[in-house]
Structure formats: structure tokens, C-alpha cells
């Protein structure tokens, strides 16, 4: 969601890898546009994780290198991915049937803001903006068992993205279970966030200074 001024802590792939370590064996995981798609490049070891894309691809794998792409096969971010053995294709209504009926164990999404009360915002860049990009985010946020977010800890201007309450129009309310940023792993805890893990080289004070709500251990 943000620029390329090298941020502190984890790289985007490290954020994705860290969140991917939370996926349980046998989970169905939906990956959204942006950093989340990097999760399908992660090594999930012995765990059988099935990646689902809102466009009806069930069981995809890493992004393919240039020249090896199949132009008929994209993930939610439009990247040309590979299929894993046992993959299946369904149409859009069936894909969202899987989502709304609670078959998705975790959805991983980007966000502009994540709030301590579990709300998050990722479809409108400003409260008064005309137009927005909802995509499948509202369906996924309302219906997935776990809602994970990956986002840069701050905006390009250094403003916190982890806040007490969202200022932007929300995507869903009280649903976020876990947040990975370049600063570490955080859990919404009502009025603040619980720090589950800090990225190497970062202190709690640094994280507090960059966060718009109280942090607790």
C-alpha cells in the first residue's frame, strides 16, 4: 500500500512469511491484492495450506517467473501464479459461496488503517472520496474465520496506520484477529494492541511512537 522508502524492520516478504507461519495445517487461506499475495511464496513446510483466490482459483502456488506464466491464470492481484496438485476452479458466485459459508480459515488483506477494536479500512482512500475499491474485501472480512492484515506500520508521511478507531470508512467491524506490519505482529485488544512479536532491531518504545493506540506486551 505504501512507497519504497526502505522502512524499518521486516521487508514485505518477511511480513508475509511471518504471517504465513500462523497458518494451521489444512487451512484454506485467501490472499488479497498487494503484500498478502506474497504469502503464496512462503514455505509452509509440512503444513498443507490451500490458497484460495476470490476469482475462483482453489489451490494455487507461487508467482511464476517471466516467460513461464500461463496468461489464463491469475490470483486476486492479477499476478500469474502456478497451480498446486489438487487445484480446482470454480466460478465467481461459487467462489464467494465458499467465502460466505465460512470455508475460509484465514483471509489476508492489505489495509489503510487497522483499529484497536478490530475494525479496519481498506476500500476508500479518503472519507469523502468518490468511488472506492471494495473487491472481495467486505465478503471476506465479514465471513472468514480469521481476518489477518498486512500493512506498513506507518504512512509515507510517518502517520500511524494502527489506530484506536478508524477515520476512514470501514470494510468490516470487530473482525481483525492478527496484524503483521514491518514493526512486528499485533493483535487488536479493544482500546489498544497487544504486541505479539517485534521485528528484529525494533524496540517497544519505537513501536509505541509509531502507533496511534496503546501497545501492551
Amino acid at each position: 500500500m505504501s512507497g519504497d522508502a526502505a522502512p524499518k524492520g521486516w521487508s514485505r516478504q518477511q511480513m508475509a512469511d511471518r504471517l504465513a507461519a500462523e497458518f494451521g495445517d489444512g487451512w484454506i487461506v485467501n490472499l488479497g491484492v498487494g503484500i498478502p499475495t506474497l504469502c503464496s511464496n512462503a514455505d509452509t513446510g509440512d503444513r498443507d495450506v490451500v490458497f484460495h483466490s476470490e476469482n475462483g482459483v482453489v489451490g494455487y502456488g507461487p508467482v511464476l517467473p517471466e516467460g513461464q506464466e500461463d496468461l489464463h491464470l491469475v490470483n486476486a492481484g492479477g499476478q500469474n501464479v502456478s497451480l498446486r496438485p489438487g487445484a480446482a476452479i470454480v466460478h465467481h458466485a461459487d467462489s464467494f459461496a465458499l467465502i460466505r459459508s465460512g470455508r475460509i480459515d484465514a483471509t489476508v488483506m492489505g489495509a489503510y488503517e487497522a483499529a484497536a477494536n478490530g475494525d479496519f479500512a481498506n476500500w476508500k482512500v479518503a472519507a469523502n472520496a468518490k468511488g472506492g475499491g471494495i473487491g472481495g474485501a467486505m465478503d471476506l472480512a465479514a465471513c472468514a474465520r480469521c481476518v489477518f492484515l498486512i500493512l506498513e506500520h506507518t504512512t509515507r508521511r510517518g502517520a500511524p496506520r494502527l489506530v484506536r478507531r478508524c477515520a476512514l470508512p470501514v470494510t468490516a467491524r470487530r473482525v481483525v484477529t492478527l496484524i503483521a506490519t514491518n514493526y512486528g505482529l499485533f493483535e487488536p485488544a479493544g482500546e489498544g494492541f497487544r504486541v505479539k512479536e517485534l521485528a528484529p532491531g525494533l524496540t517497544l518504545d519505537e513501536a509505541r511512537a509509531a502507533t496511534g493506540a496503546p501497545l501492551t506486551d
Partner: protein, 245 residues
């Protein structure tokens, strides 16, 4: 005997689309998008259209024919989409200035709700309830109802006059098969439409040559078929590896 639904070319495929029509366009991030039918519609010139699709077009290059181009061409009254802006704040779609200027109306619909509203229209279901969007701006002023302790929104079916699809294979009676992520919205748009026009990538099969168990869209829903010539004459999806890093 069944008659072949193959038409002579793209001009015939979009002939007779009237001003004021509602048209659904298949496709998601490239695959399954009827690029050639959109190009033909730009030339055909029907105006005052309502366009239903996942997006108005991406910010990626090379730009392919999209709903945004129909807007820029003055052909569109309204769009019904799950994206009317790009997901990256730094990407500004050409469509945005028409929306800002009030030159086009936009109905922004969560993607799953969009798919389900199309399927409902194609299923004789006038309305259904969904948990998606409850508590958000999308739900403002809308009818809600509690089922099993949870609030749900009432959503209406979204019927369309025409569906423009892209398929991989077809037989001459219009049975369609899509390849991989090309399937996306195409089958439900075929269900929602009164007239279905499909551009097809492979040579048409004779009736009886497609395995009935492997048909994705039954031919009774399909009215006109047109063959996509190989590039550069025919438009195909482009490589779209996103720079996520």
C-alpha cells in the same frame, strides 16, 4: 437440427445493441475479459449504457479495452462494479475524473454480492440476504434483517440485457468452457442476461464434440459466438506480474 450460433465477426456480434442497454462484461484482472467485444462496442457506438463488471479497468500497462474506455468515449451512463477506484492510492484510473465530474454514475457493490446478484437474476430469485457489508457505508439506509442472531442486508437480483463473455472453447450450439481463472464472472453473467454474446479463443467444435459433463455454461443460455483471431489482430490477455515488492 440445432443451428450454429457462430456469427460472421465482431461487428455482427455487437449489432443491434441499443442505446440504454444494460451489459455485463466478464473478466477479472485480464483472463475472461471480452476485449474484442469491448473494442467492437467502442466502434458500434451504443450510448447511455449501464455497464456491469468487476472493475472499470486496471491501471496496468499495456491498457486493454475496458469499461473506462467506453466511459471516455461518452457511451456510459452508469457502472455497477466492485472497484470504481484502484486499490493503490497512487494509481489513478482515467475513469476517476469522469466520476469526480459527475459525468458517470457509479454503484459500488462488494464483489461477492455482485456475483450473487447476477446469479440470483439468472435463477428467478428476486432478492436474498447476505452478511456482507453490514456496519459499513454500503449498508447505509438499506434494509437489514436479523437471521440466527446476525444482521444481514437485503440484496436485489441484477438482471442484464446482454452479457459479453470470453470463453476458451465452444461448440456450435453455444456450450462454453473457460480455461482456469478465465471462468470468473462469465457463467453467472450468462445466467443473468437475456442475450449472451461470447468471444471464443479456439476453433468452434461441432455439436456433440464437447463432453456434456464438462460444459461450464450450457448452450441454451448463449446466442452469438464469435471467434477471436490470434494476436495481433485479436486481443489476448497480457502478462500482468504485479510488482508487490
Amino acid at each position: 437440427m440445432p443451428k450454429s450460433k457462430l456469427v460472421s465477426g465482431f461487428a455482427e456480434a455487437v449489432a443491434g445493441i441499443p442505446d440504454g442497454a444494460t451489459i455485463a462484461f466478464g473478466g477479472f484482472a485480464g483472463p475472461g475479459t471480452p476485449f474484442n467485444l469491448i473494442r467492437a462496442l467502442l466502434a458500434q457506438g451504443a450510448r447511455n449504457l449501464t455497464c456491469v463488471s468487476n472493475t472499470t479497468g486496471g491501471a496496468h500497462q499495456p491498457r486493454m479495452p475496458d469499461i473506462g474506455m467506453l466511459v471516455e468515449n461518452g457511451q456510459v451512463r452508469k457502472v455497477v462494479c466492485s472497484f470504481t477506484a484502484a486499490t493503490r492510492p497512487t494509481d489513478v484510473l482515467p475513469f476517476a475524473r469522469f466520476l469526480e465530474a459527475g459525468q458517470v454514475e457509479a454503484e459500488l457493490v462488494p464483489q461477492g454480492t455482485l456475483a450473487e446478484r447476477l446469479r440470483a437474476a439468472g435463477s428467478g430469485i428476486p432478492a436474498f440476504y447476505t452478511p456482507t457489508g453490514v456496519g459499513t457505508e454500503v449498508a447505509e439506509g438499506r434494509e437489514t434483517r436479523n437471521f440466527d442472531g446476525r444482521e444481514h442486508l437485503l440484496e436485489r437480483a441484477l438482471p442484464v440485457d446482454f452479457a459479453f463473455l470470453r470463453a476458451h472453447q465452444a461448440d456450435e450450439v453455444g456450450n462454453l468452457r473457460y480455461r482456469l481463472a478465465q471462468r470468473n464472472f462469465n457463467p453467472v453473467m450468462a445466467m443473468a442476461a437475456r442475450t449472451v454474446v461470447a468471444e471464443v479463443e479456439e476453433e468452434l467444435l461441432p455439436a456433440g464434440a464437447m463432453d456434456p459433463d464438462s460444459v461450464h455454461t450450457p448452450g441454451i443460455l448463449v446466442h452469438r459466438l464469435v471467434r477471436v483471431p490470434p494476436a495481433p489482430e485479436g486481443l489476448w490477455p497480457a502478462r500482468r506480474a504485479e510488482r508487490a515488492r
